[in-house]
């Protein structure tokens, strides 16, 4: 069959599927359903839609909105208050997104190459280009947009601070922030760059990852979520070099020194090709996930740049609790930002990050997060984590099937009697059947039937083991197996066993016995799940 023929056949199959599912899923709404809905609405909204009640409801809503906006305005006017919360997670103001947008300064359109943006002491600027990034320029900053054309975005930050929340990259797309001391190139999504002429360039990661290098291309390191990298000004340039005074794209002659940020008393290293140290960011970098306002308060700026009094990080329990709250409120993205910023701290955070990614359908990333969590958790690995990891490996088409089998085997090694042991055996049996290892598959299937007989996997194991025995024409073994289960109190197991016995009888050439069993099946399971299979067998035996 040629490629075109295959494609046409695929298209035909697809069209047929659309037709079949469309017909199956379409259907009128019955009057009973309409009545049930009206009754439910009456119960739920009784009195709410009366005009007098509506007025008071509106008044309450207006008051609530007013209060929320006041809180929000305070947060924008006194951002230091937010930042002084130290290691505690800030209180989350839950407002609809559109209201937050309206309260903040409206993002302006994307800039043009050559634009110079200067912000005043009280006027931060935000712009958003849906295809590239949302950028917040802090107060008292100055930058030049060197390039901004959709494929390449280059910002030259001369002084101050910007925060970039970069959209996922397309192949070949480039996003860079340049300061006189460093070039920060995006690999991930959310980061801030602050440039203090004559002092340092400070890069803070909020989510994803950025790489940092000198202006002449020498790599300085990478900054991931929750990390900060401080690139010190070259010593000789401290007072007089053009780079310090006029940092408009001039490369310093001496490579910049790199020092830890936020660590009290840490001296800057001597200029030279020292390896950069990447340390957890101060609390500012970890606070207010999803909050687009960069550090604009002088107190916080001093705290970060002088490395004095870096506040304690929030407790892992707080991070987990807040992330769970966000997830349960459907705010997956904010939960992801929060968890990404803290994932290095605990395997529990990594595991919850995996959950959040999984909820979003980002299975490969979720699998990777679970894998990291397993590595961090040590021995013995947490049971639930092993299960999640193995389950995702099993479902991810990009993962090797053997990897899933290994993960399930690891689970069984640690928890042979665990509540998912039957599922693990089932997965291992599947892998073995796929690999043609029927003996090994039989071992796992028998383990389910013997050790986990009451598990939901038992019925499937019964069918699969029976099928293997029938395929091998081991009629006596198959008969013994099915006979043992034919009176099981669970209908699904008993039904499987009876159908299996019919197949054994057919295989043994005992057609009359098979017909009798079919008759007995019809009596015992008039609404049986395997009616279609039975019909086929009946046709085969010409019973109809």
């Amino acid at each position: 069959m040629t490629r075109d023929e295959r494609r046409r056949r695929d298209e035909a199959r697809h069209s047929e599927a659309v037709g079949a599912l469309g017909t199956a899923f379409e259907g009128p709404v019955t009057e009973g359903q309409v009545d049930a809905f009206v009754a439910a609405a009456r119960d739920r909204f009784e009195g709410r839609f009366r005009p007098e009640v509506r007025r008071s409801w509106r008044l309450a809503a207006a008051l609530a909105a007013g209060t929320a906006l006041a809180v929000l305005a305070a947060a924008f006017l006194w951002p230091e208050a937010h930042l002084r919360l130290g290691g505690q997670l800030p209180a989350v103001v839950s407002l609809p997104t559109e209201r937050i947008e309206a309260a903040a300064s409206a993002p302006s359109a994307a800039p043009q190459a050559g634009d110079v943006i200067v912000t005043g002491p009280n006027d931060p600027v935000t712009w958003e280009d849906v295809d590239t990034a949302r950028v917040v320029v802090a107060r008292s900053s100055r930058l030049r947009v060197a390039l901004w054309d959709g494929a390449t975005s280059v910002i030259e930050l001369e002084v101050g601070r910007i925060r970039s929340n970069v959209r996922p990259r397309r192949s070949g797309q480039r996003y860079e922030v340049r300061t006189p001391y460093a070039v920060i190139r995006v690999v991930g999504t959310d980061f801030a760059v602050e440039h203090l002429p004559g002092e340092a360039t400070v890069v803070t990661g909020y989510a994803g990852r950025v790489t940092v290098e000198t202006r002449d291309g020498r790599p300085l390191g990478a900054v991931s979520a929750g990390e900060v990298l401080r690139v010190e000004a070259p010593r000789v340039a401290e007072a007089d070099t053009p780079a310090a005074r006029e940092p408009s794209g001039v490369s310093p002659d001496v490579p910049p020194a790199v020092a830890d940020a936020g660590v009290e008393g840490t001296p800057a290293r001597e200029p030279g090709p020292a390896a950069p140290h990447v340390r957890p960011a101060p609390a500012e970098a970890r606070s207010a996930p999803g909050d687009d306002q960069p550090s604009m308060g002088k107190a916080a700026d001093a705290q970060e740049t002088e490395g004095v009094g870096a506040p304690a990080l929030p407790a892992v329990a707080d991070v987990l609790s807040e992330a769970r709250r966000l997830l349960s409120a459907g705010e997956d993205e904010r939960a992801l930002v929060l968890l990404s910023a803290h994932e290095e701290r605990s395997w529990r955070v990594q595991a919850l990050l995996g959950d959040a990614l999984r909820v979003q359908g980002r299975l490969a990333e979720a699998r990777a997060a679970y894998g990291r969590a397993l590595e961090a958790a040590g021995e013995p690995p947490p049971r639930g984590l092993l299960i999640d990891h193995a389950t995702l490996l099993e479902r991810d088409p990009s993962a090797a099937p053997e990897a899933a089998a290994r993960a399930w085997q690891r689970y069984l090694d640690y928890y042979p009697g665990g509540r998912e042991a039957a599922a693990a055996h089932d997965a291992l049996a599947t892998a073995a059947i796929r690999a043609g290892a029927t003996v090994r598959a039989g071992v796992h299937l028998r383990a389910i039937l013997d050790d986990h007989a009451s598990s939901p996997e038992a019925a499937r194991a019964l069918a699969r083991l029976g099928r293997l025995l029938i395929a091998a024409e081991r009629w006596d073994d198959a008969e013994a197996l099915f006979a043992r289960w034919s009176d099981d109190p669970r209908a699904i197991c008993a039904e499987t066993a009876v159908v299996g016995l019919v197949r054994v009888r057919v295989g043994q050439g005992r057609a009359d016995d098979a017909r009798r069993l079919l008759q007995s099946y019809r009596e015992r399971f008039p609404e049986g799940r395997r009616a279609a299979e039975i019909s086929r067998l009946e046709s085969a035996l010409a019973v109809e």
């Binding site: 695929d10 709404v29 809905f37 609405a41 849906v130 279609a532 085969a540």
Partner: protein, 206 residues
């Protein structure tokens, strides 16, 4: 304002006033399409309850509806959001229970002779199994585009993503579905061969 928009606005105003007849009209008019989406997105079962919850949510959010998007788009957004939550809670409850037989299609198969019914039912079960292999993001887009016939822009508005994302997910969903259908068809062909062998065996023994 178009006639349709005006009718919608009037209906919603009556709903806001607590007019039960308007609630019924709202449900009668829009529920079939929402039900189609929910069945496609999360499966054929347990949709009635969720469908009702979607409309209750619509009523409770009428105060926020400004009429900028059409009512159908607003409703689709609510349905997509609630279906996602439902899928997530099902995922949490999920166990590796795999029925031995796939979902029988019930009465949805066109009437005909028994053999044709069985064949159609089996075919439907196969395509449903293929649909089940798609993950949430692809499945919802596929259902919106292929079954509901939404435009790229409408689907993007309902899922709050960019049109390019819809295009890309739709393309990938189609490719994945085709691959799944290929696999399932191959497996069915093997079964059919086995049945044929069984039939021959039965005939010789009787």
């Amino acid at each position: 304002m178009s006639d349709r928009r005006r009718d919608e606005a009037e209906l919603l105003e009556r709903c806001r006033r607590g007019d039960e007849a308007a609630w019924a009209t709202l449900y009668r008019t829009y529920a079939p399409n929402v039900a189609l989406f929910l069945r496609g997105a999360i499966g054929r079962h347990d949709v009635d309850d969720l469908l009702q919850r979607v409309f209750l949510e619509l009523l409770s959010s009428l105060g926020r509806f400004r009429g900028e998007a059409g009512l159908a788009t607003w409703l689709q957004r609510i349905a997509a959001h609630m279906a996602k939550k439902e899928a997530r809670s099902r995922w949490r409850r999920e166990r590796k229970v795999e029925a031995l037989t796939v979902d029988p299609a019930g009465d949805s198969v066109a009437p005909g002779d028994a053999a044709a019914r069985v064949a159609a039912r089996e075919r439907l079960a196969q395509v449903q199994a293929a649909l089940d292999t798609l993950d949430w993001r692809f499945r919802t887009v596929w259902v919106m585009r292929e079954l509901q016939g939404l435009t790229v822009e409408e689907a993007a508005a309902a899922l709050d993503v960019r049109p390019e994302t819809i295009r890309s997910r739709h393309h990938r969903a189609r490719e994945r579905l085709k691959a799944a259908l290929r696999r399932i068809e191959r497996s069915a062909a093997r079964d059919s061969k086995a049945i044929h062998a069984l039939r021959e065996h039965g005939e010789t023994s009787s």
